[in-house]
Symmetry: C2
Subunit: 203 residues, 2 copies
DNA sequence: CGAAAATTTGACATGACTCAACTGGAGTGG
DNA sequence: CCACTCCAGTTGAGTCATGTCAAATTTTCG
């Protein structure tokens, strides 16, 4: 039906991803396959716009998304990047159907697997394992965000940048400097200087 | 058995707190009462020490706790304050029984209602409603922490302080200046100056 | 190729930290 | 109750981190 067992499918990554946390029968996974939808986005396309209700939780198969808030002065502040094998979505908005204070946008051409609220409800009924999976996911997200708060208040911009580089291998080459600055909470101008000092030191 | 219907109990606040989010039968609540334990702490006592496993989720009936991380230089960084009608605990450590990177300590004499892991398991079995309640709680916490990240990277120390004052009514009078500084990510010296400028302006 | 955006660089301004000295409670032991 | 100590908080002077503005340069993309 879905994909014969020798075909590489866009779902393979998701399956491996879930199985890293819980055990999954073929039946469970058949349910997953039936409820997630593939979506391809060109660079710069929005998955969610600030002020809208978040309708999907999105698993990133390839590419990169940024989740960010735009303040009154029009400045972007990036909460996180989601790359292959990661997730994006505003859980609070998704669950409570309230308007989101974040936008989500493709930084690169990106392939997603998306599930909506009714899909998720069905998933929990037909494959209760998955509820545990998502609980674990949210707990991990909460822990990661807490760490982020601590690092943000405790480290200098330079150290935050180093942390970012090691915590997100390869991402520095993929996303523009201004986006990394928007993640770190510094100006692009200043990040440019930090990088220069860096390369100066190395010689 | 537990408390006759005219007696004010330490559990009343918890009941009201839960019922603000889900509906609760008397039976459900009897289960809650049987699984939470009252604990009273003097000022400065620890509920959790960094490096230990978090054994309890704690509901604050009265008083105030701080959850903080101490870095290599010995500096405290406060993730959050938990006052009456709030929660404290390191969920990730609690669930996965890993060592916590946070300490939790009483800022004032404090009364807590605590539940441990096996208590929580029983709670979910005997009153499945409560699983929904805790899910909502975690989702809210995730949302709040995300907002905190954005504010921390986007606002100046002065604006963060103002935000703090309005977001935590009355707390400024209850917790020492140095703790508020540790929350905001600035030095106590600098916060003292911010306050002075503030009161100067008002005259 | 040409326009627009991203990045770099310089000069200067401001925010926030450090260090050190001083002040004023809050506890503690006599 | 006093004297003492010990923190927390305040204040001043100097320094370092980071921001702002503007111009020059490079990259991206139609």
């Amino acid at each position: 039906m879905t994909s014969d067992r020798n075909t590489l499918s866009v779902f393979d990554l998701l399956r491996a991803h879930i199985q890293r946390r819980i055990t999954l029968t073929d039946m469970d996974f058949a349910v997953v396959e039936s409820l997630f939808t593939v979506r391809k986005l060109p660079k710069k396309q929005f998955v969610l716009k600030q002020g809208e209700v978040c309708r999907y939780e999105s698993f990133v198969v390839s590419g990169c998304l940024k989740s960010f808030h735009t303040d009154q002065q029009g400045t972007e502040h990036i909460l996180r990047f989601s790359v292959e094998d990661g997730w994006a979505g505003d859980l609070e908005s998704f669950v409570q159907e309230t308007s989101s204070s974040f936008s989500i946008q493709a930084v690169e051409p990106t392939t997603l697997l998306q599930i909506d609220k009714s899909g998720l409800r069905q998933l929990y009924q037909r494959a209760p394992n998955l509820e545990t999976f998502f609980r674990l996911l949210n707990e991990k997200a909460l822990g990661a965000t807490a760490q982020r708060v601590i690092q943000t208040v405790s480290l200098s911009a330079e150290k935050r940048y180093h942390q970012f580089v090691v915590a997100h291998p390869g991402l520095v080459q993929r996303v523009p400097l201004k986006d990394i600055a928007a993640y770190l909470g510094i100006t692009p101008v200043f990040l440019s200087r930090l990088r220069r000092r860096e390369t100066m030191k190395r010689s």
